[in-house]
Structure formats: C-alpha cells, structure tokens
C-alpha cells in the first residue's frame, strides 16, 4: 500500500503520464474518429481491424485512454495531498527563524547596521514593511528580535487550486458521461413530443429560417412551448447559441430539414403540337388527379430532393437538401398505365418519361413545397455545473500562482552596545527579480533613515 502510494506520489510519473496522454491525443487527431468500419477498411485496409482492436477509432472514450486519465487524476490527487499539510503549516503556522545561518543560505539576502536600539530599529522596519502590505509576526528575546513579514500568502496555494480544479472538471466529465443523456428530436410546426425520462412535453409552435440579403442563412429560430400536466408552462424562441433550459434539460437548435414524404408540387402539363395548351396541377405525394378536359389521370408517386442514380442505376437521393428535386409521376387511362417517369425541377429537358402509348403530353416540375422540421437536441448534462466549478478553481488557482506570488522576508535583529544589526533574507514563489528590487528598496530606505 505504502509503495503504491509512493508510486503515485511522484512528479516524474505525472510528467510521464502527461507526455503519454499528449501523444495519445495527437494520435486521435491523426486517425479520424467514430467512422464506420467500411470507411476504415477503405482507408487503412488490413490495419482497420487493428485500429478497432486497440480502440483507436474511438480513442478518447477507449478504456485505455480513460484509464490513463484516471491514473493521471490519482497522481495529481496524491501529489497534492502529500504536499498539502506542510504547505498549510508553512502558510498558517509559520515558524520564525532564529538562526542566522538559515537566512544566509537564501538567494535574496542583505544585512545592515543602525546606530539605534533594538526597539526603534524594529519599529522603523515594521513601518516600512507594513506600508508595503506585509503582515508581520514577531518574537523578542533579550537583545534579539525575530521578524517574519509575508504577503500574498494565498499565492502559495495557486497550484493546489489548479489541481483541485482539474480534478473537479474530470469528476464533472465522468458524471456527464454516465448520467448525461442526449437525443435528437425532429419537430414540425404543431408537433408535440414527449421528452424521454421527463415529466413534460415540448411543442414546436413555429420554425423559421432567416436569411441575409445575400441568401446565406442568418439564423434558425424555433418557438418552443413547454407543456406540463396539460398546462403551458413557458414559451421561448430558441436559436443557435441561445438554447432553452428547463428542469435540467437543455434544448438546442441543432439542425433543420424538410419532410419530403408529404411534398406538394406544381406540375405544368403541355402539348407539343398545341402551344396554347397549359394545365397546372397541384398534387401531393400519393394523390391522383384527373387532368381537366383530358381522359387521363396523373399520379404523383414519389419525390426525391437531391436526385442521383446510384451504382445499381436506381434513383436515390444524395442528401436531404433540395439540390436536385425530382418527382416520379404516372399517367393512367382508366386501368391502363400509359406513361411513367421522372421530371426534374432544375433540368426540365432531362425528363425521362416512358410512354406505353403515343401521347402528345409533356410535363414540367415547376414548384415544390414540403413542410420544414426543426432539429432540436435535447440534452441533460448533470456534470456541467461541476465542470464550471472546476473551471473557476482552475482560473483562481492560475491567477494566484502566476499573478499573485507569495513573498516572505525573514529578519533577525541583534543589539550590541546600543547598535542594532539587521540580517534579512527573502523568498518569493515567483517573479524573483521584482521581489529582489522590492527587497533592496526596503533595505535601502532603512539604511538611509536617520
């Protein structure tokens, strides 16, 4: 047990782990993470299995990486705990130095003599130190006085705060990882959705996309209403960077899209030999409409937002964006299908209408309309406030450590025959040059005093 403790109570181990974790993190940025096995096989061939086996395809959540983080946390904890009591005693129960030798070994030191008695010298010195915000501790023996002047003592604990902050952040991360939950919801206007593991429902009242004058998206805005026990509790417009928080859940505007399954289109029907002939039909997927004045019915079978032919020469969609909208339609004369095929909104000349029977009709896909849905990410992150707490500790610690370095001056005064000798030495946790000049100023001003 003791040797295990000593193993973790080592700065060298910390450095070693830090290097290993850094190198592992680099590895994780070089290998794309969380892709499908097919992609890895395509990219790495026979090594794909090896990557999978060592969990390099989900490196940051792999057992071995998390174990490294855990060891590192344990290492930090034990290093901090072991060093803390001594540091605490030093800060809050300091001992006065009574042997000059212990002052003379310090790097920053000086001595001087005054033609004053002990009491006066001490008072003048104390005045000077107090004016520089040093707090003083003293002890007097006959002919001798021992002073300890300190300031910014909290600076000593900077590193401890930093380490504590890191441990808290890691703890928060673990809590988020195990207790957290997230789910993508898709809502169309008017939809009401039960939130999983929660006592309330969410309704999307309105979803809109705002555009800049140049056509780029400015923002997506969803008006959400929280419904609890059949009552409307609150409504909020959420947008990117401005989520809705309710009962530990946070709802983010994360994506958007179209419900292509119930697309409505406008189709123009023309006759090649009769330029004056034009019929416009509005039709939704699955509907069949009689063409006015003609003995033909038009069926709208299928809609594809981003038409492409796949390897098997089948119609497919490349994405859910309306980049190449296409409609599959059929024309029926009674029970007989006389035409069928694809028409394209962006490429009217590329219609691929297959006719069973001679016909003069041509079709154009003019407009399409589908309801938009809002993609909302529901998240519960129980560790996040703990992470913020950890960040606060981290920053306070860094500020203490680097911008608030502790300073300490140890002084021994000795009176002999009405004259007093002053021996002083100082310790600063950081920024020794500045401390050196302050130390010199103190000594000089005492020396000059008449």
């Amino acid at each position: 047990m003791k040797s295990l403790w000593n193993f973790f109570n080592s700065v060298k181990l910390a450095i070693f782990l830090l290097i290993i974790i850094t190198l592992s993190s680099i590895l994780g940025t070089l290998i794309p993470q969380n892709r499908s096995l097919d992609e890895y096989v395509a990219h790495y061939g026979q090594f794909a299995n090896l990557l999978n086996r060592f969990q390099l395809t989900n490196l940051y959540h792999s057992l071995w990486f998390l174990s490294l983080l855990f060891l590192f946390a344990l290492n930090i904890l034990i290093c901090t705990l072991t060093r803390f009591p001594a540091k605490f005693r030093k800060a809050f129960q300091p001992k006065l130095i009574k042997d000059k030798k212990n002052i003379l070994v310090l790097k920053i030191k000086g001595s001087l003599g005054k033609n004053w008695g002990l009491a006066k010298t001490k008072e003048e010195l104390k005045k000077e130190l107090s004016s520089r915000h040093y707090r003083l501790k003293e002890e007097v023996e006959e002919n001798k006085a021992f002073l300890l002047a300190r300031k910014r003592t909290l600076g000593l604990f900077g590193a401890d705060f930093v380490h504590l902050g890191l441990l808290i952040i890691l703890a928060g991360g673990i809590i988020s990882g195990f207790g957290g939950f997230r789910k993508n919801l898709t809502l169309s206007e008017g939809d009401i959705l039960d939130i999983p593991n929660a006592e309330f429902k969410l309704r999307l009242d309105k979803f809109e996309t705002e555009y800049y004058p140049d056509g780029n998206v400015r923002d997506w805005k969803s008006t959400l209403t929280v419904i609890e026990n059949e009552k409307q509790i609150l409504s909020k417009i959420i947008e990117v960077n401005h989520p809705l928080s309710y009962r530990g859940f946070v709802f983010y505007q994360s994506s958007y899209g179209w419900n292509w399954t119930n697309t409505s289109v406008e189709i123009w029907v023309k006759k090649r030999k009769d330029p004056s002939f034009l019929r416009k039909i509005d039709i939704t997927v699955g509907e069949r409409v009689r063409l006015e004045g003609e003995n033909i019915q038009i069926s709208f079978i299928h809609f594809i937002p981003d038409f492409v032919l796949n390897e098997k020469n089948e119609a497919a969609t490349r994405s859910l964006q309306p980049n190449n909208p296409a409609a599959f339609i059929e024309g029926w004369e009674g029970d007989e299908k006389i035409i069928s095929g694809w028409i394209f909104a962006k490429f009217p000349d590329f219609s691929r209408i297959h006719s069973e029977k001679e016909t003069d009709l041509s079709f154009e896909l003019k407009n399409f309309k589908a309801s938009q849905y809002s993609g909302i990410e529901a998240a519960k992150d129980p560790g996040v406030n703990i992470i913020w707490l950890g960040c606060t500790f981290l920053m306070i610690g860094l500020a203490f450590a680097f911008y608030w370095p502790s300073r300490e001056i140890k002084i021994i005064l000795e009176e002999t025959q009405g004259k007093t000798g002053v021996t002083a030495g100082g310790i600063a946790s950081k920024n020794r040059e500045d401390f050196q000049s302050e130390f010199d100023e103190i000594m000089t001003s005492l020396r000059r005093l008449r």
Partner: protein, 270 residues
C-alpha cells in the same frame, strides 16, 4: 479612410520598425532600436483604429475569418511585445519578433485570404466569440515571444559556451521566456479552454467534443503545463526548457493554422 488603407499603413509601419530594429542589430546603436520601438508602437495605434473600423464596417468581431484573425493575431503580438519590451528591455529580440509579425501581416494580405467581411454564420453569433478568440490569441502572442526568446537562448547559450558574451545574456533570455509563458498560460487557459468550453456548451450543447481543434488546444496546454512543471518542480532550465517552449509554440501554431487545413472538424469556420 477605410480599413484596408489603415491595414496597409500598419503593415508599412511594422516593416519600417523591423528595418530600424535590424539596423540596431548590426550597428549596435541603441537609438535605432528606440526608433524601431516607436514605429512598432505607432503601427499598433493605427492597427487598433483599423480593427475598430473593421468592427463597425462588418458589424461583428474583427476575427471571424483567416484574414481578420491573422491581422488580430499580429495586433496581439505587437501589444504583447510592447508590454514585454517595456518591462524587460529585450531589444535584441525586437528584430526577430518583428519578422513574425510581418509574416502574419503578409499572410493576411496574401491574395489567398478573402478579405471581404461576410455575414456571420449562426454558430458564430455570440458574445463568447469576442472573449474566446481575443483572450486565446493574446495568450498565444506571449507564447510567440517565448518562442523567439527561446530560440535566441539556444543561440546565445552555444555562443557563451565558446566564450562569446552577448548584451542580452542567455540567463536573461531564459527568464524572459519563462515570464512570457507565465503570462500567456493563464490567458490561454481562460480564453482557449474555459471560454471555449462555455461557448461550446451554449452553441453545441456539450462542453467538450474532442474536435481536432479542441484536442490540439489541449495538446498545446499540456506542452506548456509540461514546461511549467519540469521547470518549477524538477528544476529544468536552459536548453531543455527552451526546447519545450519551442515545441509548445509550434503546437499552438498548428492549433491555429494546421488544424484548419489538415484536419476537419467542428471549428471549420475559423
């Protein structure tokens, strides 16, 4: 007056500053370094006006594309250098540091960088953009100085080993490198990691996604943490420390540029 003229003026002032700094380096006349400093400082002032103008013209923070962010990084670097030069009098680092600044400005002016202000995509419309980017880049500016002083340390150290003394001693360079990192590290932690996490939480719903840019900023942070621990706890100084500082800045640079062009991720817009 518009922003691009001011940008050009700034660029010219920085070049003149570098010219005087290099003349100082070869002639050893302190006066020339002082003139170089003044040109750098007036460049900073004009640059500040340019950035403010850009903010008003575009209606958003002046660091939302590569051109803007390079220009802002150059601005932060000059600001950081002026602070460090004022405090620690490292004039000899001036010429080399001005080279970095000029490289940033040249890269920003290159025709490859689109200069027109584009409207912000939804994810960038947040006040955290200001805090996250500005504090991070200011922190990295101090790392840039440490990078220069660390390289200068390596040169000065090998000269001193041969008995050649320099005005700016290797010991001083080592200590200035440490000081720059001591200033930059808290800034980088606050801007890059903490503000980044807060913004990620509001924008993407998660504080950490192991996106390549996030991971590389953590790697950068690890390298500088390594620098501080080896130095403070294990007493490393000099050459070894200088190498770690150099690696740290290269990691920061990769986080800043490399990730955008080499590794794809959520941060694709910046």
């Amino acid at each position: 007056m518009n922003e691009s003229i001011l940008f050009l003026t700034t660029f010219i002032l920085y070049i003149i500053s570098a010219f005087f700094y290099f003349s100082f380096l070869f002639s050893k006349k302190e006066n020339l370094a002082r003139i170089g400093f003044k040109f750098a400082f007036s460049g900073l002032l004009i640059h500040t006006v340019a950035l403010i103008l850009r903010t008003f013209e575009s209606g958003h923070a002046p660091f939302t594309n590569m051109y803007e962010s390079l220009s802002f990084f150059a601005w932060s670097s000059i600001l950081a250098y002026i602070i460090i030069e004022f405090k620690y009098k490292i004039r000899k680092a001036g010429p080399y540091f001005m080279l970095i600044v000029i490289a940033l400005m040249a890269l920003a002016s290159s025709p490859l960088m689109p200069k027109e202000a584009t409207p912000l995509v939804p994810a960038l419309q947040s006040y955290w953009l200001w805090l996250h980017v500005s504090v991070t880049l200011l922190g990295e500016a101090f790392f840039a100085i440490a990078f220069i002083t660390s390289i200068m340390y390596l040169v000065a150290d090998s000269k001193e080993r041969k008995g050649i003394k320099s005005v700016l001693s290797s010991e001083k360079l080592d200590s200035v490198s440490y000081k720059c990192i001591a200033i930059g590290f808290p800034l980088f932690t606050l801007g890059g990691l903490v503000f980044g996490m807060i913004w990620a939480y509001y924008a993407w719903g998660r504080v950490w996604s192991w996106d390549p840019k996030e991971t590389w900023s953590l790697i950068t942070w690890f390298v500088f943490a390594l620098y501080l621990h080896t130095r403070i706890v294990m007493g490393w100084k000099g050459r070894r420390s200088a190498y770690v500082a150099i690696i740290g800045f290269l990691a920061a640079l990769f986080t800043y540029f490399g990730v955008n062009y080499v590794l794809a991720g959520l941060h694709s817009y910046a």
